[in-house]
């Protein structure tokens, strides 16, 4: 029996203060397969993997790997035993080269000196094997997130692992990069390596998975072969209920122009971007990673210096130089980098909710009103948290995002910009966030949604602006939307003036 | 559970460390173990407990402290020495602690001689013995508040006298010098420098300072760094220092630059161990012995005499000033002729 599985985890329990993250969870992985773990954020997938590789010590349960009981005390131990993990948040040494990152901590040596030549050669060899096109001497900080991801994967493989765990590896990758990743995964499978894959993207899961295990709220639900499952079934098991509509789109009247951006530029990242946003409208922004969408939003919000062009709100030109100015003009921005410039990790949910709205609480600050406001948004956005005093970093990604959304809604903005609002968020929370956005538009707010997930952009938007290398290359109405058309604009340089800006229609 | 245990472990470890240190402190100096064990820190129980507050600890003050500790042992006094680390506020706190502990007298080597009044205030009913640093405002001295030290008006004077004789013998009535001051503004520095100039003047020799005023803060390294660039760029006939440490720093700098230190008269004050060795080597021509052991012993004797109601020089041949509240421990000039006498002082 045990021969059949390379890895068996049984009855795993993991408790954190105040939360039971895993409650008797099991997982059985066959060698040479892609085994996908599914579940909403907070379901315990990542925690389970961290228990496996020794980052966390499980409170109970057994792990059998290659027929023997194991209990790793550190990730290093697991790594040396052939289990490696590529984390959701990468932690490369930015100032060092690619090859140094691959061999970090186990550099080949000549005497007491590092043998850089061998390091480089070994690296090239690996790249060749995996079909990765990277310069081993390039500094890590010069790479795109996708390339960094590749380096991490190469690094994991270089340990001759029998199990490679990938935690949402594609969340920052472009489609072609995803293809590269899948090719590598296929090669790993061919070498009898088991890949444990964590992702929320249904289409890719069904493309590559052999087995799918589903978790919900720290408990194990089921394991099935992928061919025996349907998307709807998976979603149903994950959320424990049927999700009727992923992108609930409500018809609402679109009002007059509230925001007009005219030939906005910011350095090399944003080049003469123009568009208009109407009240009650959801304007999608699509494009490849690096197309300048985030930078455009940051320029509008005053986070990055404007080097040209103008921004008009309600027909009046505004000069926004800082996020404070933006807030004064009733603009809110839910940033893309939730951890980097979104949450205040060690502070409470309450603090995180009210922080953008501090000026309304008077002097001395009205703590009761803060608590009341927080409670209102916890209820309204159904935020799952042990209490409003819990540290926000202990919440799942989806709930963190909802707190941030609540933070901005509390400021009662006229214009809400959300950048990758559902990145790394599970299906259930995703649908909820889409509903909230749709509700807001119905209430007359003007909303910009920046997203790299085409189905999302297409699902929620009234119109979609497509950018490529800092320029707007197309604007499409909802009725004209198709994935092919968006990709066409997203990958080409010249601008079709016809569809540039919808004027006076 | 695990975290809990760790925290308890941390707590108990800390308690143990404190206990250990307490034990160390108690047993480390054998004079105070007696009073500690019966929990009696006051003076009525055979052994008297006193506190000596040091302004800081340098070589000379260390010798003084050592002599005081030795004397205390011989007298059967339980002496607690503490270092105020140049912090007036800390010094005042130490005085108050001694008062709170019910001690009868406190010996203070002041951080800042301007604060004598505050020291006396903080000491409350305790007798106060100021040692080595003379109060700027000496009106605080009375039958309960006394000073033990050497008369700084004579230290520099000895240097001046020696230098005058030296240059007169060479037939000069004028010479230039580099002067290494201690800490500017400090009474000892001021007096040493003033009395030096007076010593020169009284003996009919004119000294000209070859540089802008230098303040090396009594530190050997400071003096070395400060004088090094001047040695070859300045015209000077002598090097005068407010203490031996700085003079030694100057000698060090000269040797570094290949200048023979015996060619220039160099004078210091203190006759410290290293200073006396330099006198024997011929590099330091003259120094003035300020008796650290005498001051340390004297302070303790004065404290004991105060407690017992005797004159503060009782049992010694040291002299008092006319008020009877100052015990002078004399300065003595030291040259190669008499340096050996100081080896066992």
């Amino acid at each position: 029996m045990s021969e059949k599985y390379i890895l068996e985890m049984q009855g795993i329990v993991k408790e954190f203060p105040g939360v039971k993250a895993l409650n008797g969870v099991q997982l059985k992985v066959r060698p040479g397969t892609v085994h996908t773990l599914m579940g909403e954020n907070g379901a315990g997938k990542s925690t389970l993997m961290k228990c496996l590789i020794g980052m966390y010590a499980a409170n109970a349960g057994t792990i059998t790997y290659k027929g023997r009981a194991v209990k790793y005390k550190s990730t290093e131990e697991a790594l040396n035993d052939g289990i490696s993990m590529i984390h959701q948040e990468l932690s490369p040494v930015l100032e060092r080269s690619v090859s140094e990152n691959v061999w970090l901590g186990r550099e080949p040596k000549k005497g007491i000196f590092i043998d850089y030549k061998k390091m480089r050669q070994d690296c090239l060899e690996l790249f060749g094997k995996m079909g990765v096109d990277l310069n081993p001497d390039e500094k890590m900080k010069n790479l795109t997130v996708a390339k960094m991801q590749m380096v991490e994967i190469v690094k994991a493989i270089s340990y001759n692992s029998s199990i490679v765990i990938m935690d949402e590896p594609t969340s920052a990758l472009t489609d072609s990069e995803v293809e590269d990743l899948f090719r590598i995964i296929a090669e790993l499978k061919a070498k009898d390596v088991a890949v444990i894959y964590i992702s929320h993207k249904m289409d890719e899961i069904f493309r590559i998975s052999d087995d799918i295990s589903i978790f919900r709220d720290g408990t194990y639900i089921s394991t099935d072969q992928a061919c025996n499952l349907t998307q709807d079934e998976v979603i149903k098991r994950m959320v424990g209920r049927e999700i009727t509509e992923m992108f609930p789109k409500q018809e609402c009247g679109i009002g007059e122009v509230i925001l007009k951006v005219d030939k906005l530029s910011s350095g090399k990242a944003v080049k003469e971007v123009s568009f208009e946003l109407h009240k009650g409208e959801i304007l999608g922004f699509a494009g490849l990673v690096g197309a300048g969408r985030t930078e455009t939003m940051e320029t509008i919000f005053g986070m990055r210096p404007k080097t040209g062009g103008a921004v008009y709100i309600n027909g009046k030109e505004v000069n926004i130089k800082s996020p404070q100015d933006a807030a004064a003009n009733k603009i809110a921005l839910l940033t893309e980098d939730r951890r980097g410039n979104g949450i205040l990790g060690i502070l409470s949910v309450k603090f995180n909710t009210v922080v953008a709205n501090l000026k309304t609480y008077g002097f001395p600050v009205d703590s009761k009103k803060m608590a009341a406001d927080t409670q209102e948004y916890i209820d309204r956005l159904s935020i799952k948290t042990p209490s409003m005093d819990a540290q926000i970093q202990d919440l799942s990604g989806g709930n963190q995002q909802k707190v941030l959304l609540g933070r901005w809604l509390l400021t009662d903005p006229d214009i809400l910009i959300v950048d990758e609002p559902t990145r790394g968020i599970d299906v259930g929370a995703k649908a909820e966030i889409h509903r909230i956005i749709s509700d807001l538009a119905k209430a007359g707010k003007a909303i910009i949604v920046v997203s790299s997930e085409l189905p999302e952009v297409m699902g929620v938007s009234d119109r979609v602006v497509i950018m490529h290398e800092g320029r707007v290359t197309g604007v499409l109405d909802r009725c004209n939307l198709s994935q092919e058309l968006i990709m066409k604009y997203a990958t080409k340089e010249e601008v079709e003036s016809k569809s540039m800006v919808r004027e006076g229609e | 559970m695990k975290k809990m245990r760790k925290m308890l472990a941390g707590l108990s470890a800390m308690v143990m460390v404190v206990g250990l240190l307490t034990a160390c402190g108690g047993g480390g100096s054998d004079t105070d173990s007696g009073s500690k064990s019966d929990g009696d820190s006051g003076s009525n129980g055979g052994s008297t407990k006193l506190t000596l507050i040091m302004s800081q600890r340098d070589e000379w003050l260390g010798e003084m402290e050592e002599a005081a500790v030795k004397e205390a042992k011989e007298m059967g006094i339980n002496l607690n020495t503490v270092d105020a680390q140049s912090d007036t506020s800390k010094m005042l706190q130490f005085i108050e602690s001694a008062k709170n502990d019910g001690q009868k007298a406190v010996i203070i080597n002041m951080v800042d001689p301007e604060t004598a009044e505050q020291c006396v205030e903080a000491a409350g009913d305790m007798y106060v013995v100021f040692v080595n640093r003379y109060p700027s405002d000496d009106s605080v001295l009375n039958e309960k508040v006394v000073y033990v030290g050497s008369d700084e008006n004579t230290s520099g004077y000895f240097q001046g006298e020696w230098l005058a004789e030296h240059f007169k013998a060479e037939g000069k009535s004028e010479f230039s010098y580099i002067l290494l001051n201690g800490i500017l503004g400090q009474t000892s520095t001021t007096l040493r420098t003033e009395s030096l100039l007076k010593g020169l003047e009284d003996n009919g020799v004119k000294g000209v300072e070859a540089t802008a005023p230098l303040a090396a803060e009594y530190q050997r390294e400071n003096a070395q760094d400060m004088i090094a660039p001047l040695l070859k760029t300045t015209q000077y006939d002598a090097i005068i220092s407010n203490n031996d440490s700085m003079a030694l720093g100057a000698i060090e700098a000269m040797i570094d630059q290949g200048i023979d230190p015996t060619t220039v008269p160099i004078v210091g004050i203190d006759a410290s161990l290293d200073g006396r060795q330099a006198v024997k080597d011929g590099t330091l021509d003259m120094t003035v012995f300020q008796d650290p052991k005498g001051q340390g012993r004297g302070a303790l004797i004065a404290a004991k005499n105060l407690i017992n109601g005797n004159a503060i020089n009782d049992g010694t041949d040291w002299e008092l000033d006319e008020t009877g509240n100052i015990l002078w421990i004399p300065f003595e000039p030291v040259t190669i002729d008499n340096v050996d006498e100081y080896d066992n002082r």
Partner: protein, 325 residues
Amino acid sequence: MSIQRKKFLSDNMIWLVLIALVIIMSIANRNFATVSNLTTLLTGEAIKGIMAFGVAFAILTKGIDLSLGAVAALVGAVSGALVQPTDFAMRTLSSGVRLPAPAAILIGLLLGAAIGGCIGAIIAYTEIPAFIATLGAQLICRAAAKMFSNRPVSKLSDDYRFLGSGRVLGIPMIVIVFIIIAVISWFILVHTRFGKSLYAIGANSQAARVAGINVNANLIKVYVWCSLMAALGGVLLAGRSGSSDPSTSGLNYELDAIAAATVGGTSHTGGVCSVTGVIAGILILGVINNGLVLMGVDDNMTNILKGIIIIGSVVLDMRKNIKKV
């Protein structure tokens, strides 16, 4: 053990340590737990404590202030020089009148605030580490103090000395000032927008900026506050001893203040600070300072113990606050 009890222990560890120390000291020396000795203890720690409240704000925003002691020396000397008797031969300012104490103190505090404003502006706008900026400020302020007067500024007027050495109802003014500052610090941190902003900046300055908090302006205010506390410390130091020696006044006080704030659980990774914690930190170090002196323990041993406690407290703090990875 229930999670609540674990949390209680972890949150109140510092008070348990303090209580344990007080018990040990009381047993070891019967003169420790007397009113007069505890007053001495508080008087001795009050100035460092006030500076600790200053630097705690800086540490809360992931900064530090190494200039506290030097600013104290400069302010002590300058404000002190304004209240020396006009007929005093060693007067620092050869001409000029003797100001009433409140005016001199106010000038001192304004000088402190101005220095803080400069330090804060440098940190906020050049983005150099606070460690470097305040290290430089330390050297400059100490040198400026020594240039201002090369000898102790003494014979300070009695009204000037009231804050530092006066008593009201038997309680030293210095302790009263400390308590007032503690209350003000608590009020700022818990009940003002400024205080809340500091937590946000410390936790994640990028996120704070996006959330519309003027990070630069708040950083400047932080260092104004720091230097203001240092200036107040300088006035108290001068008042306490009646003389302010520019070369030694406040020497290394910043380190004691940082130690107290650190032991009090102020996290150097930012975003964590409580006034009660800082008070506990000050008291722990004070109990050690005072208690071990009473026991006749060697200073070096005292410092070893302090070192162990500082490191130990940060180890505990890291375990508590850093997300378990």
